[in-house]
């Protein structure tokens, strides 16, 4: 597959984050065209393009927009909102920050088009608090867009007013979950809501709300300019378009590689100069730490939503973290599990308690104190987390545990064999170890 920079095409050009430079490279042409269309036409176009959300779940964007209830002429309803999920924090994921820091107007243009389509007049960008330089660049870009008539009163002569507010978070992975993000934006603890009702009808301030990821919205202007057929010629039918593959870890040239959906790791590794230490590939994530691990046997799985699901993982955020034979999968799983333990919001018991216990069990296995029974307990606890919490954090937390036990059980067993207390025989050690 060739590289096909679309969302990344302005990276490395002359200060593309300044509005004038952005306009020179296609910028705001999509918005100008969109404003000549009817809002419903735009929703139909995005639906027809089959754009799927880039935030991880891959939900069809056009459908999300269409779910916003539109009052009939003469009826008055609640205001509609567009909220941008810029709380990038899924381990391995590092493509929204580069977009916001280098090409913030592409996201802003997509936001204004989305507002026009779903008949929202106000939008909020929820940027994770740690991303200070992204907050800085996006704020500057928003101010410039106001100054030059792309935001505020009578945008580009349309007679319509659009407002956009930048909102910094405060450090909580869970706020990347859309309903937790909405609660957080309302000034509360960032804890997921029970769905339904969905944000499309009961979102921000209980009003109809579209929540889209940065990359999703940044894709919209190109779809408006190129059309649905142009978008669908890239990648497979079920999940078309380009994907920014974020390669990190034991790879010679890590970084952002934008290629059609459905590119394989074998192809990506070739582009990125192969492995970094001369050691063979051992395990990798197709879409962040919440997606079940892949191994060398998955090198040729097309990385798009449907193909990855067929291979029993998830495309997620196309955050490809690569590990080699020198890395311990147990150590990696332990560290990810400690992350989920720390970031569990505490609302649902299976996730809050389950991750607390799996982290402890993994810790004692890693330190040579594990027993054979621990492996069953890990799977049992995982089974009791999966599908039993409000949001996907709990489900995601079990991914690396169950997939690593599926592919690398021997590595766990080797650590257990080294237990000086006889890990393979004794179950009593599990109880003493539980308090370590």
């Amino acid at each position: 597959m060739p590289l096909t920079p679309v969302l990344t095409k302005r990276f490395g050009t002359n200060a593309p984050w300044l509005l004038d430079n952005y306009v020179k490279l296609d910028g705001y042409a999509g918005l100008r065209k969109a404003l000549t269309m009817q809002p419903d036409e735009l929703i139909a176009l995005v639906k027809d393009s089959n754009l799927r959300g880039r935030g991880g779940a891959g939900f069809p964007t056009g459908m999300k927009w269409q779910f916003i209830p539109q009052p009939k002429p003469g009826e008055s309803g609640k205001p509609h909102y567009v909220v941008v999920n810029a709380d990038e924090g899924e381990p391995g994921t590092c493509r929204d920050l580069p977009i916001m820091m280098n090409d913030p107007h592409s996201m802003i243009e997509g936001i204004i088009i989305a507002c026009y389509a779903v008949r929202a007049r106000e939008a909020f960008i929820y940027i994770r608090g740690e991303a200070v330089h992204a907050i800085r660049r996006v704020t500057q870009a928003v101010n410039e867009a106001y100054d030059k008539g792309y935001l505020g009163e009578n945008v580009l002569g349309s007679g319509l007013r659009f407002d956009l507010t930048v909102h910094g978070g405060a450090g909580a992975y869970i706020c990347g979950e859309e309903t937790a993000l909405l609660d957080s934006l309302e000034g509360k603890r960032g804890q997921p809501r029970l769905k339904p009702p969905f944000p499309a009808t009961n979102g921000l301030y209980d009003a109809p709300t579209v929540v889209n990821n940065v990359g999703t919205l940044a894709s919209v202007p190109y779809i408006v300019l190129g059309g649905a057929a142009w978008h669908k010629q890239l990648g497979p039918d079920g999940s078309p378009g380009t994907s920014i593959y974020s390669l990190s870890g034991r790879v010679a040239n890590p970084g952002q590689y934008e290629a059609p959906m459905g590119t394989t790791l074998r192809e990506l590794l070739e582009l990125a100069g192969g492995m970094s230490r001369g050691l063979p590939l051992k395990f990798w994530t197709p879409g962040g730490s919440s997606t079940p691990l892949f191994t060398a046997e998955h090198l040729d799985v097309p990385l798009d939503f449907d193909s990855v699901a067929k291979a029993k993982s998830m495309n997620g955020t196309s955050a490809v973290m690569i590990f080699d034979e020198g890395d311990s999968v147990v150590q990696a799983v332990l560290k990810w599990t400690q992350f989920y333990e720390h970031e569990s919001c505490g609302k649902c018991t299976p996730c809050r308690e389950g991750n607390y216990w799996t982290a402890q069990i993994l810790e004692r296995i890693w330190h040579g104190q594990g027993t054979l029974a621990d492996l069953d307990t890990l799977l049992d606890v995982s089974d009791n987390i999966l599908g039993r919490s409000f949001c996907a954090l709990g489900d995601g937390a079990t991914s690396c545990i169950t997939s690593s036990l599926q592919y690398f059980r021997d590595e766990y067993l080797a650590l257990i064999e080294n237990n000086p207390n006889g890990g393979l025989q004794s179950d009593a050690a599990a109880l003493t170890g539980a308090h370590a």
């Binding site: 060739p2 096909t4 095409k9 490279l25 200070v132 934006l185 000034g187 300019l225 890239l234 870890g249």
Partner: protein
């Protein structure tokens, strides 16, 4: 291990909101005005960053001030303040040094870096070397994924990126900070104090040209586009008729390639640690923007 989330040391006393003067009250009003009428509670997260910028942490006073201003109970505010990692429970140093120890950064050297800094500074998680708030004081923390995995292992100082760190470079970094110097981040604005950055996160962004124009890219960010240029690969152009301006993706691609030669690597940034990158925007002909951009606060 003690649960960091429960160690809100300052919550026992009632808190005194009167310590916050007119300037902070005006800033709070400005924050509230960003949100729709009647939705002032949305201002709570930025306001907690604001009170943190005054005291270096979220104190009982800060909680009382937020509660009073937003007509919430102190319990409601404290519940929020204790939920989020970025609100600190004890006074923070001039610099918050965060080492990513999530799996990828950790295994590529982040764990070693954290251990080395902890030893060097003689402090553990969320502890401060030096008297908090005084010049050169450093609060250390290990952080979860900072969304810079392609630059692993990363360290941030007051949330500005220092990419591709090693044990030696990280020790060099904190030594510079302790000596009163402010090395340039690899990606991010020239360093300011923790109090100042907290105010920026509250939405009062430093829009001085040196900050807004500071480096935001690097070889990893541009790895794909650079390679595409070398290989002559690009996305298909828009079909004729779809776009009346005929500004195709391919055109922008060509422009991108043309622009790449214009990068000016003679930066005005001083780079004590060799980590600063040139600022391609510094010498750009669009410098006229800078007159308009001024510090917001």
């Amino acid at each position: 291990m003690a649960n960091q989330r429960l160690s809100l040391i300052d919550i026992g006393r009632p808190g005194d909101s009167s310590i916050f003067g007119d300037e902070i009250r005006a800033a709070a009003a400005e924050i509230i005005a960003r949100y729709p009428m009647g939705k002032s509670r949305s201002a709570l997260l930025p306001m907690l960053h604001l009170v943190q910028s005054e005291q270096g942490y979220v104190s009982a006073d800060g909680i009382a001030f937020c509660a009073e201003t937003l007509e919430l109970t102190k319990a409601q505010v404290a519940a929020v303040a204790t939920f989020y990692t970025m609100y600190k429970r004890t006074p923070t140093g001039e610099y918050l040094v965060s080492v990513c120890t999530n799996t990828l950064c950790g295994m590529l050297g982040g764990d070693d870096i954290y251990r080395a800094l902890s030893e060097r500074l003689g402090v553990g998680m969320n502890q401060t070397a030096g008297t908090p708030g005084t010049p050169g004081s450093i609060t250390l923390e290990h952080a979860e994924c900072l969304a810079a995995c392609d630059y692993a292992p990363v360290v941030t100082v007051n949330y500005e990126f220092f990419d591709n760190q090693t044990v030696d470079s990280a020790i060099g970094l904190v030594s510079e900070l302790q000596a009163g110097n402010r090395p340039m981040p690899t990606r991010g604005a020239p360093l300011c104090s923790f109090a100042e950055i907290s105010r920026q996160i509250a939405g009062f962004v430093d829009q001085r040209p040196a900050s807004v124009r500071a480096e935001a890219t690097g070889p990893q960010t541009e790895a794909g586009v650079r390679l595409a240029q070398q290989l002559g690969q690009q996305a298909p152009g828009y079909p004729p008729g779809e776009d009346s301006r005929s500004s195709t993706g391919a055109d922008a691609e060509t422009a991108a390639a043309g622009n790449s030669g214009k990068r000016d690597n003679s930066s005005s940034n001083d780079a004590p640690l060799n980590t600063a990158k040139s600022d391609p925007a510094a010498a750009s002909p669009t410098g006229g923007q800078s007159e308009r951009i001024d510090k917001a606060d």
